[in-house]
Amino acid sequence: MSKLKLSGVSKAYGATLALRRGDLEVLAGEVHVLMGSNGSGKSTLCKIIAGSVRPDDGRILIDDTPVTITGPRSARAQGIGIFYQELSLAAHRTVEENVCLAALPAKAGLFVDRTALKERAARYIALFDGVSGDGFSADALVGNLRPDQRQLVEIMKALASEAPLIIFDEPTSALDRAQVERFFEILRDLKRRGRGIIFISHRMDEIKAIGDRVTIIRDGETITTLNLGETDAGTVIRLMVGGAGDMPASQSSVPAVVDAKDGAALTVRNLSGAGFRNVSFEVARGEILGFGGLHGQGQSALLRAIFGAGAVASGEILIGSERFDAASPRDAIRRGCAYVSGDRGRDGVISGRPIIENVTPIHYLRDRLMIARPSKLSDRVAPALESMHTKFASLFHPINSLSGGNQQKVIIARWLIDRPDVLLLDDPTKGIDLSAKADLFALIRQLAAEGLGIVLYSSEDAELLGNANRILVFNGGSVSRELIGADRTRYNLYQAAYEAA
């Protein structure tokens, strides 16, 4: 019996066809994985089911009866719960209020029943006992929580819907391993209880671990549905990218240690600041230095601090042999430092503006331009975008008309016009599909080969192991271990991340 059945669902935003033909069948008691490259329409499909996007066409059946979903409320009423990729939390409300927000327990129909609310929320909060991290409590304000903790609240909120069908749109992107494990246990339990689950992730290992079947979407079209037990990663990826998709090259060879003979691009000595302490390292020209470890162990804070966007309490930073202490990103950019954040919505995308204006800000600054001549700028911008294989219709279309992955490529392209000396990558592939990742890492290696010093923080072990010449494992704000050469194994990485925890 199928819980949910979609057929021929489509959605266009103006001229962009976000979803061409979405077909999907989710059974009771299965975890149904959606896979597709950036911009293939997965989130759109999910939002249509959850009622927050209005489809142009198509049929939706729940328990084999055709239904019309008029909005999130109506979707909830018909038994659909959802975890939103970009979360749906109220920052100034408490965790428990957020968990129960969709249906606040009522007294006399008018008042909030605080006792019932606390009880109900406690059930879901308890599910993540032990992995929810420091500072997490029922009455903490969500705005005070870390990104992974917020994602947990969103998960609890989705679970609290107690819906027969729950959608999880990239719920694990900010979680650490322990949290993911716990979440998967919960999913397995839900499965046992006959719930239908839609699950989206770009991480192959997670999909293998939890998925039953997978539906592959390419360019807004459902390609096929496969049994995960009967297929392998290679097949899935080939279907995703359509034809010529082999395993990304970056995963196949492990880079060697780089000689430091060209001199250091970036030197950090005894650096302490908000979120990290006493960190020292050196990045040689041409080297990719990896940062590993669990989430929130100071990696991002450190990168931001080097870039001038976070506070440094003590210690010193050198670019080349020059002392460098950037007071602001502006300062850092002038000195040849680049920073790409995985949180593009917050740190990267200038929404609503043309693609070209999203690429040029660094160029403006480095070249001290006053006047912006589109034709001249186009000549500089287009090659940078092409080197990333960015898909776009025109440089003058708004950046919002691109999918997430292509937006991220635009953000990276802005650093390629005027080459920096040091490139700081802060989990740059969050939410990016495999082929885009491959493009990106090929480029990163090329940049390294051209003599840049690169720091790469990634929450995915495979990315680190496949690209970094050396890996520093972070724990509690400082470096707990350095992995060089043959030490760079998944086992060592895992162990180093957890040893002090």
Binding site: Y13, G51, S52, V53, R54, G71, F307, A309, S328, P329, R330, I333, R334, Y339, S341, R346, D347, G348, V349, I350, S351, G352, R353, E357, T360, P361, I362, Y364, L365, L369, M370, I371, A372, R373, R414
Partner: protein, 318 residues
């Protein structure tokens, strides 16, 4: 077909169509309303509003709930300063311009500092500044005689200059061209949009966000100051509270021009049309012979109807 509809949906086009319709309506209701001379006179009034709205426009484009409620106070202050500096003599015009710009920039700077350094929301900061300016006007008027506009300034504002068109309208057109160039073709303009649509991303891309925002409020102060100077030329002598009427109308002109109050979206060309539209509407209402209560109801309702054409928020379900 869809090209035509999307062309027709542009705020500036909407505003221009509405302007023509309103002029036609005005001519129907009171013959003579749409005569060439009257349109020019309406444009003089519109240019005063439009110049204030130029400053309001950049502040709003700069985002983070950018809004400048102190414009009215700066206009009044500048009119008084200008009147006293020039005191009826043409030779005093240049010093008056300098003094006004300085005063406008100064209060813009104060606004900008409060908003960036103390991170006071612009609405609150500029509302408070309006109160301070109103108080300052009283103090100043007690201490100094209020002066006269220089004849040349009055001529510039009210008498034809080139091609039968008064100088202030040329000034307004020049400001319009300058603003269009600044917003579309300069790095500064692109940075305004950048901080307006995603302040943090702009910061991470090396845009000096604080300086920019302070600059925007200073620009707003300076445009208001220019408007105050022109207003002095328009009315001949300065008097208290001349600028009061511009505070909220300048915001409406910006909105009618298709600029979103959320920032990062819009431009000045639309605002010019919006200012003209608003002035025509007010003009029609003055010439139609109905009770003041009726006038206000019609004005309020018309504003609402016109707003339906512009910058309605996005539906939550796309």
């Amino acid at each position: 077909m869809s090209r035509i509809t999307s062309f027709l949906r542009q705020p500036i086009v909407v505003a221009l169509i509405l302007i023509v319709l309103l002029l036609y309506l005005g001519e129907l209701l009171s013959p003579g309303f749409a005569s060439g001379a009257q349109i020019l006179r309406l444009m003089i009034v519109a240019s005063l509003l439009g110049i204030v709205a130029a400053g309001q426009n950049v502040v709003i484009l700069g985002g983070r709930e950018g809004i400048d409620l102190s414009v009215g106070g700066v206009v009044s202050l500048s009119a008084i300063i200008a009147g006293n500096v020039m005191n009826g003599a043409d030779g005093g015009i240049l010093p008056a311009i300098a003094a006004c710009l300085l005063a406008g920039a100064f209060f813009g700077l104060l606004n900008g500092l409060g908003i960036t350094l103390l991170r006071i929301p612009p609405l609150v900061m500029t509302l408070g500044m309006l109160g301070v300016l109103q108080g300052l006007l009283v103090v100043i008027r007690m201490g100094i005689p209020s002066g006269q506009a220089a004849p040349a300034l009055s001529r510039f504002v009210t008498q034809p200059l080139v091609l039968g068109v008064p100088g202030i309208i040329w000034l307004w057109v020049a400001i319009g061209i300058l603003m269009a160039f600044m917003l579309n073709r300069t790095v500064f303009g692109h940075r305004i949009y950048a901080i307006g649509s995603n302040e943090h991303a702009a910061y991470m891309a090396g845009v000096p966000v604080r300086l920019m925002r302070i600059a925007l409020f200073m620009i707003s102060g300076m445009f208001s100051a220019i408007a105050g100077l022109c207003l002095l030329g328009y009315s001949g002598s300065s008097f208290a509270n001349v600028g009061e009427q511009y505070t909220l109308t300048s915001i409406i002109a910006v909105v009618f021009g298709g600029t979103s109050l959320a920032g990062g979206k819009g431009g000045y060309t639309g605002t010019m049309a919006g200012a003209f539209l608003l002035v025509i509407l007010q003009g029609i209402l003055t010439t139609v012979n109905i009770d003041e209560s009726g006038r206000q109801m019609v004005f309020g309702a018309t504003l609402l109807v016109l707003m339906m054409f512009y910058g309605r928020g996005r539906a939550m379900r796309a």
